[in-house]
Symmetry: D2
Subunit: 306 residues, 4 copies
């Protein structure tokens, strides 16, 4: 089955100190600051994204994820998804156009894992997005970590099967990989709505609505190394990496923003197609699935989240 | 609109000397030889493809393209496409399951540019495809040019607008980029059915059913360099490269198989989504679109084809 | 001052099981097996080395380093070094030509840290060394980890200042970097006889003649990633990495051969010249010097040696 | 034999328009502008060089090379070289300390090929050179083409054998590679005073004192690709590349500064040691030695110089 979702479109993250957050996301990571609105939220984007923004930072006294939002192929597809959700008695609501600048009406879905997922079909194009007439490969040389785009989120919650089921049945997502516990239950589900190895992942934990990490795409292993250099030079706290995931095969660094939200730079996963057989990791090999070189799970990976 | 086509699934190419062709595609490029059937056709695949084969070589006394074939999401989607084609009086026919080993029934479409496109929904999985239970990143270390998968074809013909129109209207392809002549007519159309910058391209020329090149995906610019080293070391004739396309932003080498069919190794194009604005190249900048570093078209590029 | 030593020429290492050792150094790391002599020693070399061999494995019931050997610029330079050593009452002896196949007479020096260093000026050229008439970039595609050459050793001992002093005064080595303890004493000394950031390193420990690691040169960070993939795929035990050293700036993986001797793959350190100012790491920053991304010393790094 | 020369230390190049030259060397290539002195000369350096400057631009109405200058290991070595030159009646003169800011006395040698070579032993250290106390891998992220250092020059002249002979006999250079004409005479001589594949090259031509190119070191093939992107984006005229030399095995782009002086970005040549056998290219294979992928010499390569 094909997904009616194009891609994860934006993420809204809570930060404790906006000035430090902007220094991190703009100056070190290299995102463009689109603007700061009157309600204090800061909007950012990566150089290769057409849409107006992909990262929204909201300053408050807690950390974590406000919203993960997905752009859909068409209003018809969104309406069909809404009907499917309502048929399942999933709590939904409409967020009016303009709640974020340049973003049309969104369907807000309260996911079984406690996460807020928004689905929308319209966002203004960025003024400084990729060129379209005789396009140069980029307008200005990519800065900082040379982030290409916002890529995916990994989210923590209890009933990950239920959240995955909604994405599959109502939005056409496919399971790319699963990690199992010793009893054969899902510990981790990696879902794709595209040709990426994952667009969202759910990790089982006795928690509700928590964020494991927000991930950003880099072009290559070379850029992973460059990002690590920048993190070390600029005193960004690295959680683990550079390393490779067995799951998705992605090359990765986990690190933290100044508020403690975990970020990831990610490159090199395989091309996924919905007719691919599912990849499954048994409990004994799951650590190798998470960290292919280390083959063990760092303590912080399972204990630190926001 | 979303495409009902998953990807270019395989290509059948005519070669003059099978022994030399296998030495090229298997030993230098590094594809796996799946088998040679009793009718003499050789079947090959790249290490990261799940399906049984993606390249078919047929020895005969001409060169060029027999078939470009696409795997679709579902039999229902194939049926819908068939109806849409028939409504347009496009010549189609059914190729029975088993005409190629492991491949189900195909719908054969005679394209306005003179190319034969097959569409199918079933191919056997390879015995040596990517692992699915606690999968290693690869079974055996990728050989030769470390080709990940068959990527796309570029095809030469007269009425490229008509062929593009069929793929868009009947199969949901999107135009990623176009190159224009001085009068504003399409000289080149790059079409995507996925998140790739192109899955097939049409180049306008007073020809029918001709092949410009068959392209194979590499992982990175590093692997482009490695492929160039191998070509030079093994006396493979390079047409142009390593270089970069402005169009698709792909990093590339064009080279020739021993029969004179042009191959490409390709890496690093952008991620395409069907809501992306079209990119357009005016006639004066089209050479830069083709070859971003050279900004001029090598003579062989426009005069050599099969 | 300039060094009269060209480079570390070979290393002789003790292994517990020759068959497993060869599987590691030849099949996984990708060195060429030059031959196994009648006394059981195995001789290997990397693809880009002109000399007959650079790694000698000796099977016995202990692990560690027998000899680190250096090739000098000329017999005159060797003689001058010998006189300088004798003037300092350093224990030396002559190892006759032919003790290793293809190697001329060696001057054996018993270093204050308990290591055996051999110095020589003649080794036969390899039959399969780099080409010299219209040379291809390599004869055959580099295999395995694509090791370019044997690079350096890091050695553990008590009086590292004394060993360094001999190399500086008698052989013209330069100190590239030093790591200090809280009292300002040398904890680590990195010495160069060339344009490499280090050709040998001494690490202070209450030990005698011990080996920390034998290091091999790779071409780039890309090849470091490839080596990590191979290690993970082939169940080679990784100690730490891929990561970067602050000291030497080298990109690195530490791993173990089947006997427990630590190996390193190394790429990307800076070009050193003997007029460069010394780089010094204070005790508090020394962990960052060792592991620039992690900024802490893994336990095994200081507790495991052979 | 070992060389008494450490490295090519700086180059003084004539440019037609200083403003455009600085825009090229500083803003696009990414060198630091150390300063512009009262006589109008501009001094630049690369991020990984300890010495005050390595590139000097002089605005005048001709292009080409004023001086190629080499830093030697010691005043004693310089004196010995001077005596050797005088014994051969080579025209020399002393350039006083301070002729360039921060540079000590230089011995100026008028080479048989018409080039002016300066040899010196003292230059002030840069204030923003590599860190030495707990050194970060760089102070600020490398800009532009991420040039590591000035690497070498290739020079055109008639009696290249005589110039090479002086460098070998008086300064201890070694020949790494030679290219021959059909009669077996030297067409090109590549000389090393270090572990680089070449520190200076002479190309035979019926010319005197001409410059073929000034070359700058990049870290890897990846950075060669990045440099090509920058050149294309910023309208820098590329002569040829990205490609690889057979000679030296270096990965390369040739391009032009705004005055028409040819620059090169260079990465990845082999490590040279003076005991390496000489590599020789016969006339028929010399084009492959120059351009390993193309195997033919571009017209501009042999007809454009300054």
């Amino acid at each position: 089955m094909q997904s009616s979702v194009l891609r994860p479109g934006f993420v809204q993250v809570r930060v404790l100190d906006m000035e430090k957050a902007i220094a991190h996301y703009r100056d070190i990571m290299g995102l463009d600051l689109v603007g700061i609105e009157s309600d204090g939220r800061a909007y950012l984007r990566a150089y290769d994204e057409f849409d107006r923004h992909s990262v929204v930072l909201r300053e408050t006294d807690t950390t974590g994820l406000d919203i993960m939002a997905f752009k859909m192929v068409s209003p018809e597809a969104l309406l069909a998804a809404r009907k499917a959700l309502e048929a399942r008695d999933v709590k939904c609501e409409v967020v009016e156009a303009g709640e974020q600048p340049g973003v049309g009406e969104r369907l807000r879905v309260y996911m079984p894992t406690g996460h807020v997922f928004d689905f929308y079909t319209q966002m203004d194009l960025s003024d400084i997005g990729p060129m379209t007439e005789n396009p140069e490969i980029w307008r200005e040389e990519p800065r900082g970590m040379r982030i290409v785009r916002f890529d995916h989120c990994a989210l923590l919650g209890e009933d990950i099967d239920a959240s995955a089921k909604l994405l599959i049945e109502c939005f056409g997502f496919s399971i790319a990989e699963r990690g199992l516990d010793p009893d054969g239950n899902n510990m981790a589900i990696f879902l794709s709505c595209s040709n990426k190895a994952h667009d969202v992942a759910f990790l089982k934990a006795p928690l509700e609505g928590k964020l494991h990490h927000v991930s950003f795409l880099l072009e290559s292993w070379h850029d992973i190394g460059n990002a690590a250099d920048l993190m070390a030079r600029r005193d960004v706290k690295i959680d683990i990496g550079p390393t490779r995931h067995g799951i998705t095969r992605g090359q990765t660094i986990y690190f933290f923003d100044p508020s403690g939200n975990r970020n990831e730079t990610f490159a090199g996963g395989y091309s996924f197609y919905p007719d691919n057989p599912e990849r499954v990791w048994t409990a004994d090999q799951y650590p190798k699935g998470l960290f292919y070189y280390e083959r063990e799970v760092v303590e912080s990976f399972v204990s630190v989240f926001t």
